[in-house]
């Protein structure tokens, strides 16, 4: 496939692997966090870690929108579907997220809730137009990439004055999450969790640009390299990070210049600012309450806000006690450090958030990397 295969070329990968191995100093370790689930997935699916020297380690970050969705938010959506009898539209990944009382949206559907998988929130608008006698709620999740389409749907609903459409907004913000990780005690206490740099978000950065990361690079002295989601992008970014660390630099560099600039998509930003405002605080699964880390719908568009319309209240629900998702999302622990990884917690029956989506650290390791934990015939 043109413009995709070029970024998956095995020969180029081998060449890059040699350069990384040559430039990574053997007397030190390099710990880089890839923030995005898209990077985690690419690393696992293409076996990128096999091409890295042993002293270059990747830490999987919290950038999987499904994984960071707290139980309480899914409960809210389920309640709307089961008790308020709404048609609940959402993205496919959300359906299996475990909620309270062993429920998930998929299981609620089996109990009679009208839950529909859509590929875009424009489809949810269509469902609303086609079902004028029913309330239709779009369960909106995701980082900055999926926020502008939701904003557009709300604006469209306002233009049409569509009376039966509303949005349960759970959009979250990347920079606040990175900051939360950098501020967490484990990361701040020197030597406990060394993060030497970040592979910065790909699609998120097309919207917000590279500028928002400049603060971290400067304030926390951590290099950031924004990278595309193809495996060669990731390897190139790792090389750039190794070079920054070796040079003692901590800058924001952009590997993904084919899609990202410093300012980002200003039209999308303006649209998002028109429809949404910052939430004072939002609970992230794994990270807990993070101040100013999410968006809610402005009062001017309150008519299309499901939280206002149905007067639903958010109730925090603690994760399973044995679940180590929080520590894994901050890079403090590896999936295999968790007692329930691969035993009671599997992609079929996820206990914790990291096991839910294929982009989650645990699911990616379980699905693609598990054989590295046991001795195996390489064939």
């Amino acid at each position: 496939m043109k413009y995709v295969e070029e970024y998956r070329d095995g020969d180029v990968a081998q060449g890059l692997a040699k350069v990384i191995a040559a430039e990574a100093r053997p007397d030190r370790g390099y710990h880089f966090m890839e923030f995005c689930g898209g990077h985690t997935h690419a690393i696992s699916r293409y076996g990128v870690t096999d091409l890295l020297p042993p002293n270059v380690r990747m830490i999987h970050g919290p950038g999987c929108p499904v994984c960071v969705l707290p139980i309480g938010r899914v409960d809210q959506a389920i309640k709307l579907a089961l008790e308020n009898n709404v048609i609940l539209c959402t993205y496919g990944d959300c359906l299996r997220v475990p909620a309270s009382e062993s429920l998930s949206l998929l299981k609620a559907k089996a109990r009679g809730a009208d839950i529909r998988m859509v590929y875009s929130c424009a489809d949810a608008l269509k469902v609303a137009r086609e079902n004028p006698t029913r309330e239709v709620v779009f369960f909106a999740i995701g980082f900055e990439t999926t926020t502008p389409p939701t904003a557009l749907a709300i604006k469209q609903a306002a233009t049409e004055d569509l009376p039966n459409f509303s949005v349960l907004c759970c959009h979250v913000l990347t920079p606040s999450a990175i900051m939360n990780i950098l501020e967490s005690p484990e990361v701040r206490e020197l030597g406990t969790v060394p993060i030497d740099g970040f592979v910065g978000p790909a699609h998120v950065s097309t919207i917000i640009g590279s500028q928002p990361y400049e603060f971290f690079a400067e304030e926390y002295r951590k290099p950031v390299v924004i990278a595309g989601f193809e495996p060669l992008d990731v390897m190139q970014a790792i090389l750039m990070l190794v070079r920054q660390v070796n040079d003692g630099r901590s800058e924001v560099e952009n590997e993904f210049t084919r899609a990202v600039n410093r300012e980002g998509n200003t039209r999308a930003q303006a649209l998002v600012a028109e429809i949404f405002e910052l939430r004072k605080s939002f609970e992230w699964r794994g990270l807990g309450e993070v101040p100013y880390s999410a968006l809610c719908i402005r009062e001017a568009f309150g008519k299309w806000d499901a939280e206002r319309r149905f007067n639903t209240e958010y109730k925090a629900v603690p994760d399973n006690k044995a679940c180590e998702c929080g520590a894994i999302l901050r890079g403090v622990k590896k999936p295999t450090d968790c007692k329930i990884f691969g035993t009671v917690c599997t992609p079929e029956n996820p206990m914790g958030s990291c096991m839910v989506s294929s982009e989650g650290a645990c699911a990616a390791h379980y699905t693609y990397g598990r054989f590295k934990d046991v001795e195996i015939v390489a064939g």
Binding site: R8, R45, G47, L51, R116, D123, F371, I376, V377
Partner: protein, 361 residues
């Protein structure tokens, strides 16, 4: 008063009529539906016996009976390259054929939804009849039930097939051995992609057609060139396993074989044939073609010594012209299916978890 025509029954209004509850009642309406639609289309001597069951001829000496059943709930009912009718014939014929058996007869059960247009039912039944005729496997008995509107989705079809397995032949999933070679009969993921492209919520334009087809001729050709290990009587020779890679795709089929045989599999990503349109559709939908359903592709495990001969025989058949070697069987106590990626790394090709795409067949 007009003249009463004795015994006159107005013919079935196939053009504008719809299924109603009386078509499942056991009464006249049902008899008419069966006679004018099903029996007329499937028309064969065995079906014409017209009894509750069909009496079938005896098998040849030494042959054993193979039986397989498959229910079909695909949505949409009509898709590029096929429909639920021919699919229900192909699916079951293939299930019998991959066992190494010669498919002989089919039985068909229909669950019809009240309100389903007779014109569409006729299209489905005609397609089924054509597929059965082409395969040379007659539909010899059947059943029809009707459920109220909203309790079904147009039509569901269950087909059951029987076939004759020659003496000494064994192609069971437990026969794979370390050192064997894995072959796939052609491009993967075509059926699933064709279905997806026509789903209401997802419609996108693609040239891809479902690969739905009966594969018993291909399999017969293969077994004529390279018999099963049990027939050869030499552990280093022969075909070990044949499976059709339907739901869950090639990945799921190989995991099943690895588990049953107690072996591991190492795939080579570059060995697979994937049509560019399938590749592109999977790319933007976030699917992995290894897990996307096929309806006309088989996975074959063969002894290394016979791999080249088998590949040549497959490629000489139109249904196997794109056959390729995709991997090797290994010794592995964990029974993992792994893959060397085109990128140069290794990864697990695990069992499919959850549902990648509902109602694919």
């Amino acid at each position: 008063m007009g003249e009463v025509k004795r015994g006159y029954v107005r013919p079935l209004d196939v053009k504008n009529g719809r299924i109603d509850m009386s078509h499942g009642s056991g009464g006249k309406a049902m008899a008419q539906l069966i006679e004018e639609l099903f029996a007329r289309a499937f028309n064969n001597e065995l079906l014409a016996q017209g009894n509750d069951g069909t009496v079938l001829p005896a098998l040849q000496a030494g042959e054993r009976l193979v039986m397989a059943t498959d229910s079909h709930v695909v949505s949409p009912l009509f898709f590029k390259g096929g429909d639920i009718g021919c699919l229900s014939v192909h699916g079951t014929v293939n299930d019998v054929a991959v066992m190494g058996a010669r498919p002989l007869y089919l039985a068909a059960g229909f669950i019809l939804e009240e309100g389903f247009p007779l014109s569409e039912l006729k299209k489905v039944v005609d397609s089924m009849a054509a597929a059965a005729r082409e395969a040379g496997v007659p539909i010899v008995t059947g059943d029809t039930k009707v459920v109220e509107q909203g309790k079904g989705d147009g039509v569901f079809i269950t087909t059951t097939g029987v076939g004759a397995l020659p003496a000494g032949r064994d192609l069971g999933g437990a026969n794979a051995r370390p050192g064997d070679v894995v072959i796939v009969s052609g491009s993967i993921g075509d059926h699933g992609t064709a279905i997806m492209s026509q789903r209401e919520s997802l419609a996108f334009d693609t040239e891809i057609e479902s690969d739905t087809a009966c594969l018993h001729n291909l399999i017969e050709t293969m077994l004529a060139a390279v018999p099963s290990t049990s027939e050869v009587g030499n552990a280093a020779r022969g075909i070990r396993v044949i499976r059709d890679a339907t739901r869950g795709g090639v990945a799921t089929t190989l995991n099943e074989i690895a588990k049953q045989s107690g072996v591991g599999v190492m795939l080579n990503e570059k060995g697979f044939v994937i049509k560019p349109q399938v590749d592109a559709a999977c790319e933007f939908l976030g699917l992995d073609p290894l897990y996307v359903a096929n309806e006309g592709k088989i996975v074959v495990i063969v002894a290394r010594e016979d791999a080249d001969a088998l590949l040549a025989a497959m490629r000489a058949h139109p249904q196997g012209k794109d056959a390729s070697v995709v991997g090797d069987v290994l010794e592995d106590p964990h029974h993992f299916v792994q893959m060397r990626t085109g990128f140069g790394g290794r990864r697990i090709v695990d069992w499919l978890s959850g549902e990648q795409l509902p109602r694919i067949c």
